[in-house]
């Protein structure tokens, strides 16, 4: 199979309100897939379901052909799927370097070790150095995460997701709240660090999406209304209706 991730009729209700209403989505191995949709469509909720933050009400999430629906987040990460958060979710009191160290410990096999000091682990040092360099945070390595600027914190947020070594990444609005030049820099950074990985990314900036995405899915009101290449999506009637408002509704 070439599908990294498959969602099968996924549903989630909070109380009596159904927020995710039967989502079907395939993510091809190695593709960059953008997830777009209006505010409140359920994009973040969908990410929470896939990454194990919340359990779906029904449906299947097949990752590398295994059903991961309802599994705890740690297991899903270990299987090779990691994510970043829309609202920055890092370790504020710890240094940038320590943030990244935490993120690489599992994949390097150190886990909950108590037999070596972290700073003396050569593989951790090398990996963190590489990440810091990629993220452009080398000069900030020893500053606490909460002292970083907003774009730097977003870079670290991205770094935590990437550092865990997963081959499939879910990025939730990695450029939210950035100005134009910051967005451009962040996009380059994302392209660089996700080289060769499968990517599902929520983003609102259409310029960014058309520049980077191989395919786009449009989530509206808890359902995927269209999936296709940027050109196909641009031409899709349903998408235009969802975003621009429908002429039929206006007439009615």
């Amino acid at each position: 199979m070439t599908h990294a991730l498959e969602l099968r009729n996924l549903k989630k209700s909070f109380g009596s309100v159904e927020i995710i209403r039967g989502v079907n989505l395939d993510l091809r191995q190695g593709e960059r897939h953008a997830l777009i949709g209006p505010n409140g469509a359920g994009k973040s909720t969908l990410f929470h379901l896939i990454s194990g933050r919340i359990a779906p009400t029904s449906g299947e999430i097949l990752f590398q052909s295994q059903n991961i629906a309802g599994k705890p987040p740690a297991e899903i990460v270990r299987a090779g799927l990691s994510r970043s958060f829309q609202i920055t979710n890092i370790f504020p009191q710890m240094s940038v370097l320590d943030n990244l160290r935490c993120a690489v410990l599992w994949k390097l096999g150190h886990r909950y070790s108590i037999f070596r000091q972290t700073p003396t682990l050569p593989d951790v040092a090398i990996e963190c150095e590489r990440l810091l360099d990629q993220l452009g945070l080398t000069r900030r390595a020893h500053d606490t995460a909460d002292s970083l600027t907003y774009p730097e914190q977003r870079a670290l947020e991205l770094g935590l997701a990437v550092a865990s070594g997963a081959n499939t990444l879910l990025l939730d609005e990695p450029m939210a709240g950035m100005n134009h030049s910051e967005t451009e820099a962040a996009l380059q950074l994302i392209m660089k660090v996700t080289e060769g990985k499968t990517l599902l990314m929520v983003e609102h900036d259409m310029g960014v999406i058309f520049e980077m995405a191989d395919r786009i899915s449009v989530l509206v009101y808890g359902q995927i209304i269209a999936t296709g290449t940027p050109q196909e999506i641009r031409a899709n009637r349903a998408v235009q209706e969802a975003y621009l408002g429908t002429s039929e509704e206006d007439a009615a």
Binding site: D98, A103, R111, L121, E129, L160
Partner: protein, 426 residues
């Protein structure tokens, strides 16, 4: 690649030396202390402070490192002590020869096992639920102890003779100073192990759990597992401390694992400072000395603890160690001279507030609890009377004036601190 900004796999000889310096100083202090204070009662005091320091260090694994407020840490102190006590009694009975200094390892190991079980129960969530559950577990053990007099003794506890295991390492463990040696060595071991632990991957993960427990789940780790391991390690070291306390006093009572002990270790650790590795040691020494000396001269010593604790919680969350570190930062910055007026004023206002508070509390205790001792009382050398408006007025004016004068000064101090911490990172 700028290697210099990162911890390199092989630290230079220079940084190694700086890292070793505190340990050399501590070892030297531990050697010199009994020579300076050689009287039996002083050695006894040192022994008490040593056990409390180990106990507080273990507690900070939870509070400072993992961000977990345990209200039942005294349980493991007590259980460790009882395990050690019974180990000694049984081995002495059976005629087994076992070196007394290794007894705390048994107490610590027992507490470790129990800590795993307790941790498994308590560590599902952090924060408030953790605090309540640890309290519940502590109360369970304490209440259940009454059902097992053969283990926990009755009211008088379980006593033993530490010389029963015979001599080893060239000591017969009769004199208090022999126990001092044991405690000092165990202090170095425990502090060393815990310091090492704080630098290991698990140690790093405990900090991560403190900062953002949810996030580490998305990095492949279980926050629950980290909490449980931290809990067990803290329990083990508390067990060592409890065993040492048992060796020191040759008796263990159920009270040692009651709410008072649980509270005491929280007070010591927090007042000492949770953000610095040796903060808890400082707290254990200060509170331990206060407990020993203050209880002799004032009926209000518990009240002073409580107020000191509230003061630290409200205005100095970094604890005494934080004040010390600020002082060092100030010295390093070389601006002590420029800041002398501010510091002097703060000292003056503080002295007034403190004097006033002490006067009021001592008067209140004499008027209430100790009314039978008569209205005349000497506080800080001042002859006062609970019947005199003047006495109360003096206390009120000092305390009120000091506190009012303190507030603008504290704002200035906060600014100074801020600039100091900025200067340090730059």
């Amino acid at each position: 690649m700028s290697v210099s900004t990162l911890d390199t796999p092989a630290p230079s000889a220079n940084t190694r030396l700086t890292a070793a310096l505190p340990w050399v100083a501590i070892t030297a202090t531990l050697i010199v202390l009994p020579l300076l204070f050689s009287s039996n009662s002083m050695i006894s005091t040192l022994n008490y402070l040593g056990t409390m320091a180990i106990f507080a260090l273990s507690y900070n694994v939870l509070l400072g490192q993992t961000g977990l407020l345990s209200l039942g840490h005294g349980t493991f102190f007590g259980l460790g002590g009882f395990i050690a006590t019974h180990a000694i009694l049984h081995m002495a009975d059976a005629g087994v020869s076992f070196p007394l200094p290794l007894i705390p390892a048994i107490g610590g190991f027992g507490a470790l096992i129990l800590g795993f079980f307790g941790g498994w129960l308590a560590s599902g969530r952090g924060g408030m639920p953790f605090a309540m559950i640890t309290l519940g577990l502590a109360e369970l053990v304490y209440a259940a102890a009454a059902l097992f007099p053969s283990i926990y003794g009755s009211e008088e506890g379980v006593s033993f003779d530490r010389m029963d295991l015979g001599a080893s390492f060239g000591m017969d463990y009769g004199p208090t100073v022999d126990i001092y040696v044991i405690i000092a060595v165990w202090f170095l071991i425990c502090a060393g192990v815990l310091y090492y632990f704080s630098k290991t991957p698990l140690g790093l993960l405990t900090n991560a759990v403190r900062d953002n427990a949810e996030r580490i789940e998305f990095l492949g780790f279980s926050a629950r597992r980290v909490r449980m391991l931290a809990y067990a390690i803290a329990a083990a070291v508390a067990g060592v401390a409890g065993s040492l306390a048992a060796l020191n006093f040759e008796i263990m009572t159920v009270n040692e694992m009651g709410a008072t002990t649980c509270m005491l270790v929280l007070l010591m650790t927090y007042i000492g400072g949770t953000k610095h590795f040796f903060g808890p040691v400082l707290g254990a020494i200060v509170i331990g000395l206060m407990k020993i000396w203050l209880s002799d001269i004032s009926p209000a010593w518990m009240m002073y603890f409580g107020l000191l604790f509230i003061f630290v919680v409200m205005v100095q969350p970094a604890g005494l160690a934080g004040i010390l570190m600020d002082g060092i930062a100030l010295l390093r910055s070389g601006s002590v001279g420029a800041q002398a007026p501010l510091l002097g004023l703060i000292g003056l206002a503080g002295a007034f507030a403190l004097t006033g508070t002490i006067i009021l509390i001592e008067l209140a205790y004499r008027a209430g609890l100790d009314a039978t001792l008569g209205p005349q009382i000497t506080v800080l050398g001042l002859p006062l009377s609970t019947a005199s408006v003047l006495s109360w007025g003096l206390g009120l004016i000092c305390a009120g004036g000091g506190v009012i004068a303190m507030r603008p000064l504290f704002d200035r101090l906060a600014t100074l601190r801020h600039s100091l911490s900025k200067g340090e990172t730059a």
